[in-house]
Amino acid sequence: MELPLLHLALVGTPNSGKTSLFNALTGSRQKVANYPGVTVERKEGFFVTPLGRQVSLVDLPGTYSLRGRSPDEEITRDFVLGKASGEAVPDLVLCVADSTNLRLTIRLLLELKRTGRPMVLVLNMFDIAARRGITVDVERLAKELGLPVVTSIAVRKGGTADLLKLTDEISARLAAEAEANSWRALSVAELRATQREADRIIADCVSLPSRPDTWTARIDGIVLHPVGGLIVLALILFVMFQAVFAWAQPLMELLNSGFDALGELVHATLPSGLLQSFLQNGVISGVGSVIVFLPQIIIIFLFILLLEDFGYMARAAFLMDRIMGGAGLHGRAFIPLLSSFACAIPGIMATRVIDNKRDRLTTILIAPLMTCSARIPVYTLIISAFIPAKDVWGFINLQGLVMFGLYATGIASALAVSFLIKFFMLRDYAPAPFMLELPDYKMPRLKSIAIGVYTRAKMFLVRAGTTIFSMMVLIWFLASFPQPPAGATEPAIDFSLAAIIGKALEPLLAPVGFNWQIAVALIPGMAAREVAVAALGTVYAIEGGKEAAEQIGQVLATKWSLATALSMLAWYIFAPQCASTLAVIRRETGSWTWMAVTFTYMLVLAYAASLVTYNVAVALGAG
C-alpha cells in the first residue's frame, strides 16, 4: 500500500538548530524556492523514515511567537495554521528547542498547541545540555505538555534516530489526532500566563546547574568589550578583505591561465573565421573573465557563513547598532550590508531579518552602494592600467590606496544616503527597537558551511552560465556584425552595430569623458558589472588569445586619458549597473517604485560623480 506523502514542518525560536536538523534529515534532497507572493525563502526537503514512509519536511523561519511581526514570522504562522496559499497543512509539527535554553521555546510550544496540530517537541542540542550538566526528565515533560518529546543531536551522525523512530510511530496513528484550531493572537496577559506556565513546567522537569557557558562568557568578555570589541571587529573585517584580495589571487591566476589555454586551444584547432572568433572571444574569454572571480565569491561567503554559524554575527550587530544608528541604520542592517560586499543580491535578501519596514527599506536602498565583488574586475583592470604601483609615504602602495579609497567612498556614500533618507523622509520617527538574542557560541560545523558555500557557488556559476554567457554572445554579435565591406582599412568594429549604438550614446556620455567604446561596454555591463571588462576587450578588438586582463589594460592605457579612467572608476562606485539587483529590489520591496527610485538615485550619483571627477582631473592636467 502506497501511503500519501507525510508533511512535516520545523518550527522553533531562532538558533534552536532547525536548519541543522533539516540538513541532517534531508541531506542533499533539498529544494529552495520562494513562497508565492512573498519573498521568504521556502526550504523543503525529502527523506524516508526507517519504516519506509515518504516525508516532506519544511524548514520554517525562526520565531518567538505566532503573532507574525515580520514577513518571515507571518509565513511560519500561516504555514502552521494551514493558511499559507498552496501549502498543505502540516500533518505533524516538529517544535525544535535548544535544550540548554528551554524557556522561550516551551512558551512558544504552549501557544502552538492551541493550533490543534499534532506536534512533537524535539529537544535538540542534547549533547551540549548533557555536557553542561543539565538534566531533563523527558517522560515527565511529555506528560506535563501532553505531547511526545524526543531528544536529538542534529550535528551528530545518528543523532536523529529517535526522532525518526517517533515519526514512524506517530504517522501510524496520525489521522485521529488533529484537533480544531483555537489559536488567536494572544493578549499580553495570556502571553504572560503562558510564560509562567512554561517556567513552572521547566522548574518541574529540568534541573539546571546554573552554570552558564563559560566559553561564551569568556569570549564575550573580549568580543563585546566596548573598545576591544570594535577592534576585534575591525580585525576580522581586515582579515576577510585580505583573504578576498590576497589569498584568492593564486587561484584566480590559475583559472585565468586555464581559460587562456582553452582559448589558445580553440584558436589552434579551429580554422580562423566566425566560429573561432565566437568561441574564443565571445564564449571562453567572456564567461572565463567572470568565472575567474569564483575564488573570491567562495572566500567571502565562507567568512560570512563561518561567522554566522559561530554566533558572531549577532555580536557584530550589537557592536554596530549605535554607530550605524547615527546614520539612521538599524544594528541588524550590519549583516545584510556586510553580505553586500560579496553581492548585493544575498545582502538584500538578508534584510528580511529587519522587522521594521522603514529600516528594511533604507538598508535595501543603500545595499547596492557597498562594493560588490563584481566591481573588483573593473577596478583592478583600470587601477593596474593607470595607477602607478609606487609607494606613497614610504610604505603604502598607491594602487592599494586607490582600491581602498573606492571601497571607502562606497561605504561613506551609503551612510550619507541613509542619513539623508532619515533626515528628509522619515524625520518624525523614533528608531525601531533593537532586540536580539545573543546565542551561545558554537563550533562551526563543516557540513553546514559546505552546504552553504556550495549553494552560493552554484548560484554564481549558473549565473555565469546563463546571464553572462548570453550577454557575451550578444556583445560578440553586436561587435562582429555587420562585417566590414571588402577592402576597408579601418578596424572591423567601426562598421558594427556596437559602434552605431555606442556613437548614438556618445553625446550623452561625452561630458563625463566616456568615448563610444565605453558606452558599448556599459550596456552589457547592465546585466552584470564584470562583463564590462570582457566587453571592453571585445570592442577594442583584441584578438588572438590575448584576453588576459593585462592586455586589455595595456590597450586602455594607450586609448584613454587618466581623466577618463578616473571618471570610469567614479562611475562604477555608484552606477546601478546590475539588472539582477534591481530585480531583487523590486521583488523584496514588492514595488516598481522603489526599484525606480534606486535606479534613478544611483544613476544621478554616478553621473554627477563622473562629471566632477572628469572635469577636476582635466583641470589638473590629466585630460
Partner: protein, 91 residues
C-alpha cells in the same frame, strides 16, 4: 526564578550599569519612549523572557552612550537598547 527583593528601590533596567543584577518587578511600556506601541513592546519583551520574577544581569554595554546593553535573562542573553529597557522595572 527568585523572590522579589523588596529592600532595594525599583528602577528601570535602562538606567542600570554594567554588572547590575536584579529581579524584574514589572513591565511598564509607557515609561519607555519606544517606537512600538505599549502592547507591542510589552509582548515582545515577554516573548524574550522578560517576565516578572526573572533574574537579570547587565553583562555588556555598547561604546556610544553605553548603548545597547546585553542582558542575561535567566539562562539566555538578549541585546536591547536602553530606550526599550526603560520599560523593564527591576529591583
Amino acid at each position: 526564578m527568585t523572590d522579589t527583593n523588596d529592600t532595594r528601590p525599583h528602577m528601570p533596567l535602562g538606567l542600570a550599569h554594567r554588572g547590575y543584577t536584579g529581579v524584574i518587578q514589572h513591565l511598564s511600556a509607557r515609561e519607555a519612549g519606544s517606537a512600538l506601541s505599549d502592547i507591542e513592546l510589552e509582548s515582545r519583551l515577554i516573548e524574550l523572557g522578560f517576565v516578572e520574577g526573572a533574574r537579570v544581569e547587565i553583562l555588556h554595554e555598547g561604546l556610544v552612550g553605553r548603548d545597547p546593553i546585553a542582558v542575561r535573562v535567566d539562562s539566555i542573553t538578549i541585546a536591547v537598547r536602553r530606550r526599550e529597557a526603560m520599560a523593564i522595572i527591576v529591583a
